[in-house]
Each structure stands twice: as structure tokens, then as C-alpha cells.
């Protein structure tokens, strides 16, 4: 008993906020961990009337010995369900966040009432209309992106009919926007193979005026082929930060047979940026039509869409001609708009190919090659990137993985401005040993020769980091990294952020309760 009080004192001696974080973690422990007691047994209610508590925690902590900076991020999510009612809570702590601010708060909370036909949410929520041309509110923790809406949302759904009505204010980079938005989105499935939908949104932006977006979408699914089309229009007050009204078109089709699939996409965005200027929050997120890569170096230079003026296409072919072989080919091209249907000045293009070969369950060999050309960066770089990925299976549970990523860059620009093209390369070599289900250990070496094109280069040329990943039971995953890695872009869904360099150690702990 005495020990218990000592433990409580220890808890209170800790920072109040850490105590709150820990409390969230303790709740599931003291509530029988995997908590699901049934009122049906105790009070004779229906089988569905039972409390369920679920929780998860994501912790990231890094300490840089060079800059002496410690960064701590923690997200604790908790939901309580009782019959048709559900409460979602999230407590976040960032010390500091990616913009240097230290904060912790209950960042997400809502109450939901739902059954198979309807859902009413009061509080924070995420939503997407169509492919995100008109509205997309979402969270991506890797990018520290969270533009959740705070308000009320109602959804009705039955027999192929779906209607969503919502109102609320979006979360900005630092705080919630003052400008409420109201929107509606509906969808009707006329037949098994055809669906039609429409969306409408209006918001009055402070110091700007009324912005309205509306549009429609259609999808058709036939044997071996399907189509999706979405058109949206934006009404803007004239003479402000975007001079005229805008529009966005997105088309896609899939053509496939067994063992082969071809996806074709088209985009046309004209003054279609829908960003609240007060906190620079983008409220729509249309498809950028550029490939999201599996490898670090390729993904570091992903295309960031320019919704003011761009038109583009993308084609991707996936095929498994033999049981052991799979192929992937991708081509994407984005340019400025020219006239009604033509492409103007190139903004970004990439051609990517990948071949994977499975050798008798003993090894898997993958080779890839990318050629990227972008006008988004200084020097209009052209990048060539071969990738080699080899997995050798030592036994049923043990394997060794070797990855080589090489990125050769050619730029027009350099600090001497002598008009000559300059070249350099970045390279990542990684070797990992993994044992199922225990964990893996990875050694990653990165090097750059970018210093060759710079007059002054005070930074590093080589980085080395060791990472230990451990599965702790079924519900916890620990990742510990020691060493150094360069700063670089992390991109997803056409949104990129710069991640700081690390020279020290980092711990990540993912827990589900």
C-alpha cells in the first residue's frame, strides 16, 4: 500500500501534462486492458449495448547531440463506444512542433451517433468529397498535417443513396480558422455499374469574401474497364489573391485483364487553388498525378502540384506475365496550361520502370529506374535514379535485405553562374537483417557529392544511421535509431515538408490498446 502511494506521488511530481499523457495510457490498464464488458449480462439489455474502449499512442522523441535540440511528439487517441454512441478523443503534445512552437492540448474530440443508415458527428471530423477537388480534410502525421473540421456533420446512406451535410471551421497550421464553411455532397448509384454525385461548398473568408465551389462526378464500372470523371468550379471574389474564378477537371480510367492492369489519368487545374490565406490552409487536395515512390531518394523530390495553372497526364501499367515476375511502368507529365487542350511549359515529368523477380522462394530481386525532370527547383534539375533491392531468405523467419538507391542530378544552376551544367549524386546503401516476428536491424549509409557544385559547403557529406525495430508483443512496436541522417523532404499526396537532420538518437513507439 505504501508503495502504491509512493508511486502516486511520483506521478504527481512529474509535469502535469506528462501525467495526463500517462493517464491516457493507464486508463486501458485499469479497465482490464482489452476492455469490453457487456451490460447485456449485467442489466439484461441487448447484445449490442456494451461499452468498448480502444486506445493508441504514438510517441516520437529525438535528441540531436550537435544542435542539442530535443524534440518530443506524442499523440494519444482514445475512443469509447456504447451501442450507437461513440466518443473520440485525441491528446497531442509537441515540444516543439515542426514550426518551433511548444503545445499540448486535446486536439480532437467528437461525439458520434450512428447506425447502418445514418451518422451524426458533433465536434471534430475528417471528410473528403469525390477525389478531393472540392474538399478534403485529413490528417497525415508524417507531414504534421491536420486540417480537421470542427462542427457538425450528418450522413444518410441507404439503397445506393448517400448524402452528407456539414458545417464547421477548419484547423489551420497553428489555430482554428474563424471562417466557417458549409457543404453538401451526394451520390446516387443508379445501377450496379454507374454512380453519379455532386458537391457544393461555400465559405466566407475574412478580408476576402465569399468563395463557392460546386461540381459533379460520375463513375462507370464495366467488365475489364472503368471510368471516373469529376468536374468542379470555383467562384471567387474578383481582384483578390486569385484574380478570376477557377475550375478543375480530373479523369481516370482503368483497363485490366487477369495479370495486367493499365491506369490512365488526366488533370486540368485552372486557378483552382482553394487555400484560406489567413493561415495558408489548403481546403482541397486534388490528385497531383505524380507517382508516390517506395524509395527514399525518389520520394524526396516528389512533385508539388500548382493548382493555379497546370495540366497533366499519368499512365501506369502493372503486370505479372509469369508467376515469379512482376513489372511496373509509369509515366507522368505535367505542364502549364496552353489554350483549351494543349500543354505549355513543362513543370514536371517522370518515367519509372520496375522489374521484380522471385527466385524459388530463396531470394527476391527488384530493379528500378527513374528519370525525373522538374522546373519547380532552381537549376531545372534532371534526375536519373537506378534502384536495386535484393532480399535473400536465410530461413523461414530470417532474411537479409540490401538496397541501393543512387540519384544522379544534373543542374543548370550553380553558385558560379557560369552557364555550365553541374552534376552530383546522392546515394543510399542499406543493409538489414530481419527475424520474424521479433524485429530487424538496419544500417543505412547516405552520401552526397552536392558540395562539388557549391562554393561553400559546411555540411556533412556522409551520414550513417543504425535502426533497431522491435515488435513488443502484438500491440507495441519500438524503433530506436542511433547515428545521423540528412534533412530532407518527406512527401505524401502532393504535400511535402522538410524534416530536420538528425545527429544523435531517435525513438519511436507505436502502441495499441
Amino acid at each position: 500500500m505504501k508503495n502504491k502511494f509512493a508511486f502516486c506521488r511520483f506521478l504527481f511530481q512529474l509535469h502535469k501534462r506528462s501525467f495526463l499523457i500517462c493517464l491516457f495510457l493507464l486508463i486501458p490498464l485499469f479497465s482490464s486492458f482489452h476492455f469490453n464488458f457487456s451490460f447485456a449480462q449485467d442489466f439484461g439489455l441487448g447484445e449490442s449495448d456494451s461499452w468498448t474502449i480502444r486506445a493508441s499512442n504514438q510517441l516520437e522523441y529525438s535528441s540531436d547531440r550537435k544542435t542539442h535540440q530535443d524534440i518530443f511528439h506524442n499523440w494519444t487517441d482514445l475512443d469509447l463506444t456504447y451501442g450507437n454512441y461513440k466518443v473520440n478523443l485525441r491528446y497531442e503534445a509537441h515540444q516543439p512542433d515542426d514550426w518551433g512552437q511548444t503545445w499540448q492540448k486535446l486536439s480532437f474530440r467528437n461525439l458520434q451517433l450512428s447506425n447502418e443508415f445514418f451518422n451524426i458527428t458533433a465536434g471534430n471530423y475528417y471528410v473528403i468529397f469525390g477525389r478531393g477537388l472540392i474538399l478534403r480534410s485529413y490528417e497525415n502525421r508524417d507531414l504534421r498535417h491536420d486540417n480537421n473540421l470542427d462542427g457538425v456533420r450528418g450522413t444518410i446512406e441507404f439503397e445506393g443513396f448517400n448524402l452528407t451535410l456539414l458545417g464547421g471551421t477548419a484547423m489551420g497550421k497553428y489555430e482554428r480558422l474563424d471562417d466557417p464553411l458549409h457543404a453538401a455532397d451526394g451520390k446516387i448509384a443508379f445501377t450496379d455499374w454507374m454512380t453519379l454525385g455532386g458537391s457544393y461548398l461555400r465559405t466566407n473568408i475574412t478580408d476576402f469574401g465569399l468563395v463557392r465551389l460546386f461540381g459533379g462526378n460520375a463513375s462507370v464500372s464495366l467488365p475489364h474497364v472503368d471510368f471516373y470523371a469529376e468536374y468542379a468550379k470555383k467562384d471567387n471574389p474578383p481582384g483578390k489573391y486569385i484574380p478570376d474564378d477557377g475550375k478543375g477537371i480530373y479523369l481516370s480510367t482503368n483497363i485490366y485483364t487477369a495479370g495486367m492492369g493499365l491506369a490512365l489519368e488526366f488533370k486540368d487545374y485552372d486557378k483552382f487553388d482553394f487555400t484560406n490565406p489567413n493561415q495558408n490552409v489548403a481546403l482541397n487536395n486534388p490528385p497531383p498525378l505524380a507517382r508516390e515512390h517506395m524509395y527514399t531518394l525518389l520520394n524526396r523530390h516528389a512533385y508539388v502540384p500548382d493548382l493555379i495553372d497546370e495540366r497533366g497526364i499519368q499512365a501506369e501499367l502493372t503486370s505479372s506475365p509469369l508467376e515469379q515476375v512482376s513489372l511496373l511502368a509509369n509515366y507522368s507529365y505535367t505542364a502549364e496550361r496552353k489554350d483549351k487542350f494543349c500543354f505549355g511549359k513543362l513543370l514536371f515529368s517522370e518515367i519509372y520502370g520496375e522489374l521484380e523477380y522471385d527466385y524459388k522462394d530463396m531470394a527476391t530481386l527488384k530493379g528500378g529506374f527513374s528519370r525525373q525532370e522538374t522546373k519547380q527547383e532552381e537549376g531545372d534539375p534532371v534526375r536519373l535514379a537506378p534502384v536495386l533491392d535484393l532480399v535473400y531468405y536465410l530461413s523461414e523467419a530470417n532474411s537479409v535485405n540490401f538496397v541501393l538507391e543512387h540519384l544522379y542530378t544534373q543542374k543548370d544552376y550553380d553558385e558560379k553562374l557560369d552557364g555550365y551544367k553541374r552534376t552530383y549524386y546522392d546515394q543510399i546503401l542499406s543493409l538489414s537483417f530481419s527475424q520474424s516476428p521479433t524485429g530487424s536491424i538496419t544500417l543505412t549509409h547516405e552520401r552526397t557529392t552536392e558540395w562539388k557544385i557549391r562554393e561553400r559547403w559546411s555540411g556533412r557529406k556522409d551520414w550513417l544511421i543504425a535502426t533497431l525495430d522491435l515488435a513488443m508483443g502484438e500491440n507495441h512496436n519500438l524503433s530506436l535509431s542511433v547515428g545521423s541522417r540528412p534533412k530532407g523532404k518527406v512527401c505524401a499526396g502532393g504535400v511535402c515538408v522538410d524534416k530536420p537532420a538528425l545527429d544523435g538518437w531517435e525513438i519511436k513507439l507505436l502502441s495499441q490498446f
Partner: protein, 191 residues
């Protein structure tokens, strides 16, 4: 904000303490019997038709695998699971691959799935509603659910050989099912 300051000590205590609590939970989890119910959901499949988890569970156990087209280990895992899937499908087992690609990649999912010859059901979770419902923190993430709708196994990340553990767990579920039906038959014959 820097080393030696109260702030850093506070941070360090946070990390240590959270880690300590997590270790406690882990040890507790090892001995705890899971009775967590899998939240029901419905989501559109590749042809736009709604697939409901509870409907699939009427046929037998379901393995939910959260994946995305840009996730290398996710595709490796699903390729491995595909190899034995037809055998288990005959027994009533189902794999539900929940695609969490955003609008950027969602159009290419169907061609990818067809190209890789995956036979199991694939549904879209474009704005990650199911992902949040299951408190997924990273992909690949797999959840094995028994016929009664109870979560029996969860796993994040994929390492070569993890699929063997999944198949063992699935076999275990079928054995339990078999034992339960034999027990029931025995009781019925006694009566």
C-alpha cells in the same frame, strides 16, 4: 529548450515514463485474453459495391490488411498471403485488403490489384476512416478477426516469415471452430 534545462529533463521524464508504462502494458498484454470486438464497417470495393465486415464474418474468419500502393512491405505481405489464400478461402476464410491510398493514388489501385492477380477483396478507405476506427498507426497492419467478431491477432509491419504466423493463427481459429462444433455435437447426442 536545450540540454541541461528543466525542459529537457521534463521531456526525458516523459519519454522514460511513457516507456515504463508501455512495458507494463506489454507484460500485461501477454497474459491478457483478448476479447476486443472488431468495429464493423462497410466500404466500397474495386467495383464500387459496398462490402460489410459483419457480412463477411458470417462465412468465417476475416483477415484485414491495411495497405497502400506506395508501401513496399504491404505489397510483399499481400503477395505472400495470396499464395495460400485460395486454399483457405474454400474453408470460409476471407482476406479484406483495406487500401488507404489518398486521392493521389486511388485511381491506380484497381490496375495494380489486377496486375498482381490478387483474388481477395480490396476496399477503399480514401480518407482513412477505417484506419482511425482500428487505431492503426502504421502500415502494413493486419487484424485477424474470428467468426464471432473478436479481434484475435494484430500485427504492424511486415518481415519475411510473418505470413507463416498469420496462417498458424488462422489454423488455430479453424481448430477452435472444429472443436466447438464437435463439442456441440457431443452434447446434442448426449441429450
Amino acid at each position: 529548450m536545450f540540454a541541461g534545462s528543466k525542459f529537457v529533463r521534463s521531456l526525458f521524464s516523459k519519454v522514460l515514463f511513457t516507456f515504463f508504462i508501455t512495458c507494463l502494458l506489454v507484460s500485461y498484454a501477454q497474459g491478457a485474453k483478448k476479447i476486443l470486438k472488431a468495429p464493423n464497417f462497410s466500404a466500397p470495393n474495386l467495383n464500387g459495391k459496398k462490402v460489410e465486415l459483419n457480412t463477411l464474418l458470417q462465412e468465417g474468419p476475416v483477415l484485414i490488411s491495411f495497405w497502400a500502393t506506395h508501401c513496399k512491405p504491404c505489397i510483399k505481405e499481400l503477395n505472400q498471403l495470396q499464395k495460400l489464400y485460395p486454399d483457405y478461402k474454400k474453408k470460409g476464410f476471407e482476406i479484406l485488403a483495406v487500401d488507404v491510398d489518398g486521392p493521389r493514388s486511388v485511381s491506380r489501385v484497381k490496375s495494380k490489384v489486377k496486375g498482381l492477380k490478387w483474388k481477395f477483396a480490396v476496399v477503399f478507405d480514401t480518407n482513412r476512416d477505417i484506419y482511425r476506427k482500428y487505431h492503426v498507426l502504421g502500415i502494413p497492419h493486419t487484424v485477424l478477426i474470428d467468426r464471432g467478431g473478436n479481434i484475435r491477432y494484430t500485427h504492424t509491419t511486415y518481415r519475411s516469415g510473418d505470413e507463416k504466423i498469420i496462417w498458424k493463427k488462422v489454423d488455430q481459429l479453424f481448430n477452435e471452430q472444429k472443436e466447438a462444433s464437435e463439442e456441440k455435437e457431443g452434447k446434442d447426442s448426449e441429450k
